[in-house]
């Protein structure tokens, strides 16, 4: 085994086992309770507002490529896109999905198309609902700003991987008078979103989107597994802090293996 990755390997196995165990439990009906997540609960409100105003919903699934290290955020964002597209299909509301990563573009198109099919409105689906703007960070940011202003979007959902363009998008949504919902796991961007958006999904809340919105028992179960892994991580942190305080480096050495 590669040196320096032994502990990571076993922790990954433990997390997989915990997630798998709770998914199996959930299949048998042992569903965990999920705390209300304001940002996810507000999605329906946002689509409802757009419907009332007769203006479109603007969705950005982040800027990460689907095969990059940050793909998990894009995939979580696409799950949320699926829910939003179902709602816009059901209420005949406009949807504009802005994509920055070329290889996310066909996947996002498929997600929106499937959502319109699921609701029974395949004819309402327009391929231009998903638009590729640019993979250049600020070209993408300015394109989003322009669309938000010109189309006077009523709701802006910006979830996934973002960098400095996050504030451009969030403030653009505010200037367009849109209800804004954001979500990100990048520590540098979360503060921007928190101060500039109406609702923000912080860190892991982004990954809870699929389970929370679909109420899929298996996904809900996996969240319980995540919580167990998180609890073990917190115990490691606490134990490590105590041991290091007393000059014992055994746990630190274990992590380095």
């Amino acid at each position: 085994m590669t040196a320096g990755r032994i502990f990571t390997f076993w922790f990954l196995i433990f997390t997989f086992a915990a997630v798998y165990y709770f998914m199996e439990r959930a299949k048998k009906g042992n569903l965990p309770g999920v705390r209300p997540i304001a940002g996810l609960a507000a999605l329906d409100e946002a689509v409802g507002r757009a419907t009332e105003l007769g203006r479109p919903v603007f969705f950005v699934p982040g800027r990460a490529e689907i095969n990059s290290a940050d793909a998990a955020q894009t995939l979580a964002a696409l799950e949320i896109l699926s829910h939003v597209a179902e709602k816009t299909a059901a209420y005949d509301t406009g949807l504009i999905t802005a994509v920055a990563a070329p290889n996310t573009y066909p996947v996002a198109q498929e997600v929106v198309r499937e959502s319109y099919l699921k609701v029974g409105k395949p004819d309402a689906y327009d391929p231009d609902m998903v638009q590729f703007y640019s993979s250049e960070q600020f070209a993408f940011g300015s394109a989003c700003l322009g669309v938000m202003m010109r189309e006077k979007v009523a709701a802006a959902v910006m979830v996934g991987f973002f960098q400095a363009e996050s504030l451009l998008l969030a403030e653009g949504a505010n200037q367009a008078g849109a209800i804004s919902i954001s979500g990100c796991t990048r520590l540098y961007q979360i503060p921007f979103f928190v101060v500039a958006c109406d609702y923000t999904l912080i860190g892991e809340e982004l990954f809870a989107g699929g389970a929370y919105l679909t109420k899929n028992p298996i996904k809900l179960g996996s969240m319980q597994g995540q919580d167990l892994a998180k609890l073990v991580s917190v115990l490691f942190v606490a134990l490590g802090a105590i041991l290091e305080t007393f000059g014992n480096h055994s746990l630190t050495q274990l992590f380095k293996k």
Binding site: M1, T2, R5, T15, F16, V19, M23, E65, A72, Q73, L75, A76, E79, S82, A85, V99, P102, N103, Y105, P106, V107, V111, P127, D128, Q131, F132, S135, E136, Q137, F138, A139, G141, S142, R150, A164, L167, L168, A170, E171, T185, L187, I190, F192, V195, A196, G203, E204, L206, F207, G210, T214, K219, S222, M223, G225, Q226, K230, S233, V234, V237
Partner: protein, 205 residues
């Protein structure tokens, strides 16, 4: 089959990369290197598809005189010039470098500089004392700004110390909490996708 095949490929390729990351197996290394090349090729095709989509939307706008269609002409011309210069003259050619360094870079810098105004307007909204949380944000933000700005130290030399404490302890603890939660969330979503349970990215529940 249309659904199962992509899920099967995702599972096999995903586990290959996972095993290769943890174990030094020469054959796996060569397989994952090969697959990475395939990924690059697929991404190149995706870029073509995305560019075609962009052309389609803007050519339609020009044809129908829809919205600010004059801007669409600029976009189509610049995009075409970039493609022609990049493909036929190379990315080191003078015309390509001119477009890149004299047009794209300054425009990006101009958009980036807008952030300072947006930071001001966002801070103005966020720092209104509406409730306890907003009060904590206002108080800590005020202290960190004073601690980071040279004038803070002139007013009271303890401001930088307080700012450092806020950044090193409560802020770092919060950041690590977010990071741990997000990392484990990534692992869980990765597992669900690898075993084919999570199909939300394919538009299914």
């Amino acid at each position: 089959m249309k659904r199962e095949l992509p899920l099967g490929i995702t599972a096999v390729v995903g586990f290959l990369f996972l095993v290769q990351y943890f174990f030094k197996i020469a054959i796996l290394k060569s397989m994952t290197d090969e697959l990475t090349d395939w990924g690059t090729i697929v991404s190149a095709f995706a870029a073509l598809l995305a560019a075609a989509g962009l052309y389609k939307i803007h050519l339609e706008k020009i044809a129908r005189r829809k919205g600010p269609w004059e801007m669409s002409i600029v976009l189509v011309l610049v995009m075409t010039a970039f493609i022609i210069f990049g493909v036929f003259l190379g990315q080191k050619s003078a015309p390509y470098l001119f477009l890149s360094n004299q047009v794209l870079v300054p425009l990006s810098a101009a958009i980036f500089s807008l952030l300072i105004f947006y930071i001001g307007s966002a801070a103005f909204r966020a720092f209104r004392l509406r409730n306890l949380e907003a009060g904590l944000l206002l108080g800590s933000g005020f202290l960190v700004m004073l601690g980071r700005a040279p004038i803070g130290e002139v007013v009271w030399k303890k401001f930088p110390v307080i700012a450092d404490w806020l950044m090193k302890w409560p802020n770092l603890a919060g950041n690590r909490g977010v990071l741990i939660g997000a990392s484990i969330g990534s692992i869980a979503i990765g597992l669900r996708i690898l075993v084919g349970i999570d199909r939300g990215h394919l538009g299914q529940d």
